[in-house]
């Protein structure tokens, strides 16, 4: 029985990993496929897809759109969200609790509803859909996540630190940039990364508000019907590797900093 339990754990977790990793491995492997019309059957190994990603023009174009939307929406949502988070924690005003509740609503609302609702609003306001309506939509739903993330950080910030800053001749601007902001930075960075990931990934809300513009997820969605070009796999794999690399860099540099501090001490 003990033997079985021990093996059971290994088999169970092994299978879980396999199921998790199969799609990723598949995507990476087929980014090297020397495909003709469809990228479903393995026909041979090549670096061509990686070297000439932009041969499949739509792939590159949609990827560029997604990057642009992600970056702009992240900057907007992070800036606004940080300001709102600080206000929510630091200031007492009427309807503060109601506002906090409203902030959570977009996270709880089904994306389809959010997307359709926004689309209806744009239609009524006579705004023609395009990159900027997508950016607006993404900023909107990223905002909630930014606020929730940064708010926790603001709440844990000792107000005495800012008071010390003021006491030491820092005007409000200096106190914010030299004391408050550096303390909030880890939270802000986390919020920005989350925003970008959410925006880059979003399909449903985007689809309602994109007009004729194509983002990477919507391109892949449409292309899936005909067969996704390997260039799309290349981009997906590249994003995957980039994410892994970022995590590794963060870990290694944190460890290095710890070592340096230990040495300094």
């Amino acid at each position: 029985m003990r033997g079985f339990g021990k093996w059971g754990i290994w088999i169970y977790s092994g299978m879980a990993f396999v199921f998790l990793l199969i799609p990723i491995v598949y995507t990476i492997v087929f980014s090297f496929n020397d495909y003709r019309r469809t990228n479903i059957i393995w026909t041979g190994f090549t670096f061509d897809n990686w070297l000439n990603v932009c041969d499949a023009q739509d792939v590159c174009q949609s990827f560029g759109n997604s990057l642009f939307i992600g970056l702009v929406a992240t900057v907007l949502a992070t800036t606004l969200g940080t300001m709102i988070a600080i206000a929510l924690v630091r200031y007492r005003f009427r309807f503060r609790n109601a506002t906090t509740l409203l902030i959570f609503l977009p996270m709880a609302t089904p994306e389809v509803v959010l997307g359709a609702g926004l689309a209806a609003q744009f239609l009524q306001a006579g705004v023609s859909k395009g990159l900027w309506t997508i950016i607006l939509a993404h900023t909107l739903f990223c905002l909630s996540f930014v606020i929730v993330t940064v708010r926790a950080r603001v709440a844990s910030l000792d107000p005495a630190l800012e008071e010390a800053g003021r006491d030491l001749y820092g005007n409000p601007f200096q106190v914010f940039w030299r004391v408050t902001f550096p303390m909030l930075l880890p939270g802000i960075v986390a919020a920005a990364l989350l925003s970008f990931a959410l925006s880059f990934d979003d399909f449903i809300i985007t689809n309602f508000n994109r007009g004729a513009e194509v983002t990477f997820p919507s391109y892949v969605y449409t292309a899936a019907a005909r067969g996704i070009p390997a260039e799309a796999n290349v981009i997906a794999s590249a994003v995957f590797f980039l994410a892994i690399a970022l995590v590794l860099i963060a870990q290694v540099s944190a460890a290095a900093r710890r070592r340096q501090l230990a040495k300094a001490g």
Binding site: D158, A160, E163, R166, D167, Y169, L261, G265
Partner: protein
């Protein structure tokens, strides 16, 4: 007062007067300070002493500009700063919680104020300040890598380095061990007299307040009970709170029975206690008088009648604690409860023992009369006083324990 102008980027060449006029501070549902009037002359070392929660930190925050007074005005060097912001006031604070910037090194912490004012040789001045608190070798560390006491010294250096006209210290030595605390007390006094800064020092520690300050103000429940030179405060307390909070006191309450020109006599449960008129705050009705334990002498038999001494007794010794230099006796006298006596151990023969019958006497000149009563007060007030006297006793015990260890 250009020398106190922060925007000039210079150091204060001398301390400035601080004046609080009719200050009160109400928090929603709670009055932390009621009617505070206070003048601290330039260059003085002023100690604010009081039990926990009496409003000491709030007073400092009002002066620093971190809190706005509900009523009243604050003047520094004759200039009304009530409406100015914290960063515009020539004031620095050593915070009770240190409040060091965790993301900066010790060096950056100390240089912060200098850099905000655009002072040229900020770094070398910061190093000097760190040397003063003997932490220059740790300049590159982050606050988290320092012990509590070290952090406190950094907080001190960070404030002192700015040479403010007025330095506010919120229990800056609380986390230090006795030796370091004494050392820092000396350092602080040196800095203060050297540069002539005005120091406003908040503390629980009565001994610290008495040894360091020119003037001590005893604060209780948002009001200043009494203010004066440490010795005056000790020898002639005006309220029961001060009498008990600052050192120990034996208090007796009774009606005034005779009033003469130079002295009055109080009848406390049949015992006549005489007080010099000028040492009594009130001269008729029911008053409380007292004497410090070290002023009281023990006698084996009833002492000879002497018009210059008050006598109580007989009573029984119920507790003897020997502490080397002196012995503390507790004598229980019917109707008067426990009376403390500190006796110098000058000769072995004078030792009394637990259970001995004794009489007590002290010089009339050492008796003081209070403005309020120790007994017969509302219950709530009594409880509060019990708390504060317990704090005093506790801090005294801590100190004694520390002294023994040292």
């Amino acid at each position: 007062m250009t020398n106190n102008d922060v925007s000039q980027g210079g150091f204060a060449e001398a301390g400035a007067d601080l004046e609080l006029v009719g200050i009160s501070k109400r928090f929603p549902g709670f009055t932390a300070i009621e009617e505070l009037d206070l003048t601290i002359p330039a260059g003085s070392f002023f100690a604010l002493l009081g039990p926990s929660g009496c409003g000491k930190t709030t007073t400092l925050r009002l002066i620093a500009g971190l809190e706005e007074p509900t009523t009243g005005r604050i003047l520094i060097g004759g200039r009304d700063v009530t409406a100015t912001k914290a960063y515009q006031r020539p004031v620095n604070t050593v915070f009770q919680s240190y409040a060091l910037f965790p993301n900066m090194t010790i060096m950056e912490n100390v240089a912060f104020g200098l850099k905000r004012r655009g002072i040229k040789n900020a770094d070398s001045l910061a190093h000097e300040a760190l040397q003063l608190v003997e932490l220059d070798h740790l300049a590159g560390r982050k606050p988290k890598q320092l012990s509590g006491g070290q952090q406190q010294r950094v907080a001190l250096a960070r404030a002192v380095v700015n040479r403010p006209a007025l330095l506010l210290l919120d229990e800056p030595l609380g986390a230090l061990d006795l030796k370091l605390r004494r050392q820092m007390q000396v350092e602080l006094k040196d800095i203060q007299s050297e540069v002539g800064l005005t120091f406003l020092h908040v503390t629980h520690d009565q001994e610290e307040a008495m040894t360091m300050a020119d003037t001590v103000a005893v604060m209780n429940k948002g009001r200043i009970e009494q203010m004066g030179a440490p010795q005056d405060l000790y020898e002639l307390p005006q309220t029961a709170f001060v009498a008990k909070f600052l050192g120990q006191s034996n208090l007796f309450t009774g009606d005034v029975v005779t009033t003469a020109k130079s002295s009055i006599v109080v009848d406390a449960h049949g015992t006549r206690i005489e007080v010099p008129t000028d040492r009594a705050q009130r001269h008729n009705g029911r008053i409380t008088v007292g004497v410090r334990p070290e002023k009281v002498t023990l006698h084996d038999s009833a002492p000879k009648a002497d018009s210059s001494r008050n006598v109580i007794g007989p009573g029984r010794i119920t507790d003897v604690s020997f502490s080397g230099v002196s012995t503390q006796y507790e004598v229980t006298v019917p109707h008067h409860g426990a009376i403390s006596v500190f006796a110098q151990n000058t000769s072995i023969s004078s030792l009394h023992h637990d259970g001995d019958q004794v009489w007590l006497s002290w010089s009339v000149g050492h008796t003081f009369g209070l403005a309020d009563e120790a007994e017969g007060e509302p219950v709530s007030r009594f409880h509060a006083d019990l708390d504060t006297s317990m704090i005093a006793v506790q801090s005294r015990k801590d100190l004694e324990a520390e002294l023994e260890e040292a």
